[in-house]
């Protein structure tokens, strides 16, 4: 009996299993344990959360394999890790470590300002960020098995996550209302492959799972993104930069499941302590906005 690994179906299917869940950024094994105990469906192992990358500056790179392996040894849920945009050798290294998902992430300093990683070359699935439908479809064309709207990482300001989700959703709705002969120009205008544009127009959704990231800091933020049509949420700095991470993590998990129930949302929003302080995206000079990275 032949067994085929690394197929598009098992890569995309892995993301299906994460739906309705919260994926949390963690910088060490202790945080990974807190995340797992709070009900996270996966953890993202990285050396500095986006808020610290933003504060400290410098070049942000793939994490130390020792740190990733410690986290893998500590939790039984999937472990994801980030590579710089276009850095296919960092991706080869993470594949050899057996991480469950690679995030080709604008949060790290890009390694290539023209090309992204050719993700079809890997057995490990990739998640990539997108600010609009054209960008999402370009990433899927390169082999991404999961998309997350970018938002603006490390801010605790949910406004960009909102605008990216509205943009992706709005573009999808526009495609579904077009005549077939208009899809060619739509593909040209959004700089996306025609075949994927046609598929989205027919199905009314992305061919892969769509999560939201970037600026989610409260249970209400998580529920807002779910009501906007996200399949699940990434929470980066929002948990471990807050006053009571374990409590806030569990609250965000519940809010993501019961996103339509205001009573539950009120309950889990009580007594969470301090949220991350955050920065307004409008106060960040455009060249320092991470969402601009990706092409």
């Amino acid at each position: 009996m032949s067994q085929e690994t690394g197929t598009a179906r098992v890569k995309r299917g892995m993301a299906e299993m994460l739906k309705g869940g919260v994926i949390m950024d963690v910088v060490n094994a202790e945080q990974a344990k807190i995340a797992e105990d709070a009900g996270a469906v996966a953890v993202m192992a990285l050396e500095r959360v986006p808020a610290d990358i933003r504060a400290q500056g410098g070049v942000a790179r793939m994490s130390d394999p020792d740190m990733i392996e410690k986290i893998q040894a500590t939790v039984s849920i999937p472990v994801m890790a980030k590579v710089r945009i276009g850095h296919f050798v960092e991706a080869q290294i993470l594949e050899s470590l057996g991480v469950d998902y690679i995030d080709e992430s604008e949060v790290l300093t890009p390694a290539d300002y023209i090309n992204h990683v050719d993700k079809w070359n890997f057995k490990i699935p990739f998640v990539c960020g997108a600010t609009n439908l054209g960008e999402a479809l370009r990433r899927i064309n390169e082999g991404a098995a999961m998309i997350r709207s970018k938002g603006e990482a490390g801010t605790g300001d949910v406004s960009n996550a909102m605008s990216h989700m509205r943009s992706i959703g709005g573009d999808i709705r526009r495609l579904t209302s077009m005549r077939e002969d208009e899809l060619y120009v739509a593909a040209k205008e959004m700089q996306a492959p025609y075949a994927l544009v046609k598929e989205v127009a027919e199905t009314g959704k992305l061919p892969v799972v769509l999560f939201t990231a970037g600026g989610i800091a409260t249970p209400a933020d998580a529920a807002l993104m779910m009501q906007m049509g996200a399949d699940g949420v990434f929470i980066g700095s929002g948990i471990f930069k807050s006053g009571n991470p374990a409590h806030r993590a569990a609250a965000c998990v519940k809010a993501t499941t019961f996103y339509n129930d205001a009573k539950v949302l009120a309950d889990v929003s009580r007594g969470l302590g301090d949220a991350m302080v955050g920065i307004n995206v409008a106060d960040i000079p455009v060249p320092h906005r991470l969402a601009e990275r990706g092409w």
Partner: protein
């Protein structure tokens, strides 16, 4: 017949889609009151730790256990198989299950995501294309459990990946991710209606 799908986390929408294609009514279950209205139940794929934790937080564990014990036909895929197991190997510390099937299940038995695979196997004398994602397998079963499908690993060992014990069905793989409704039809026609 109304089939509930536990909708705390995971690919519950795909199960609801498969149920609809089989011509039955499916509903999302997040509360005990919703469970009460169901004739049969499906535990979807997802992260078994997260699903169990949410079920505990929302006081669903005892109601689900009670319905399973009282004979409600229940099917679990992947994480759902883990949740139907009486015994676990390699679970998270303190991980709870609903139980019901007299079997030991090994969590993430086939390995990490890099080892996730597709394969063709025999299911109830039907050839089935099956998708395994960080999948568990069944380590051992009690005498009342029927093994429906097995997978042979590279070491030549055979592992049960689909099992049935009276009104309970579990698979390591995800029929809801394929276009073939054979497993859902078997659940509806053989497991539910034989009762």
């Amino acid at each position: 017949m109304k089939i509930g799908v536990l909708a705390l986390q995971g690919d519950f929408r795909e199960h609801l889609h498969a149920i609809a294609l089989c011509g039955e009514e499916g509903i999302e279950v997040r509360r005990a009151s919703e469970l009460d209205t169901c004739d049969a139940f499906i535990l979807p794929g997802g992260e078994s730790t997260a699903i169990a934790l949410l079920a505990r937080n929302y006081d669903l564990i005892e109601p689900i256990r009670a319905r399973i014990e009282s004979g409600m036909p229940t099917y679990g895929s992947c994480a759902g198989m883990i949740l139907l197991a009486d015994r676990l190997v390699d679970g998270a510390p303190g991980q709870q299950t609903f139980g019901g099937i007299d079997m030991t299940v090994r969590r993430n038995a086939f390995g990490r995501q890099v080892d996730s695979f597709e394969s063709t196997l025999s299911f109830n004398s039907h050839s089935l294309h099956a998708v395994f994602i960080r999948a568990p397998w069944v380590e051992d079963v009690g005498s009342s459990v029927e093994v429906i499908s097995t997978v042979t690993t590279s070491d030549g060992k055979s592992h049960p990946v689909a099992v049935r014990q009276s009104h309970l069905l579990a698979t390591s793989f995800h029929p809801e991710l394929t276009q073939d409704q054979a497993v859902h039809r078997y659940f509806i026609d053989e497991v539910c209606k034989s009762r």
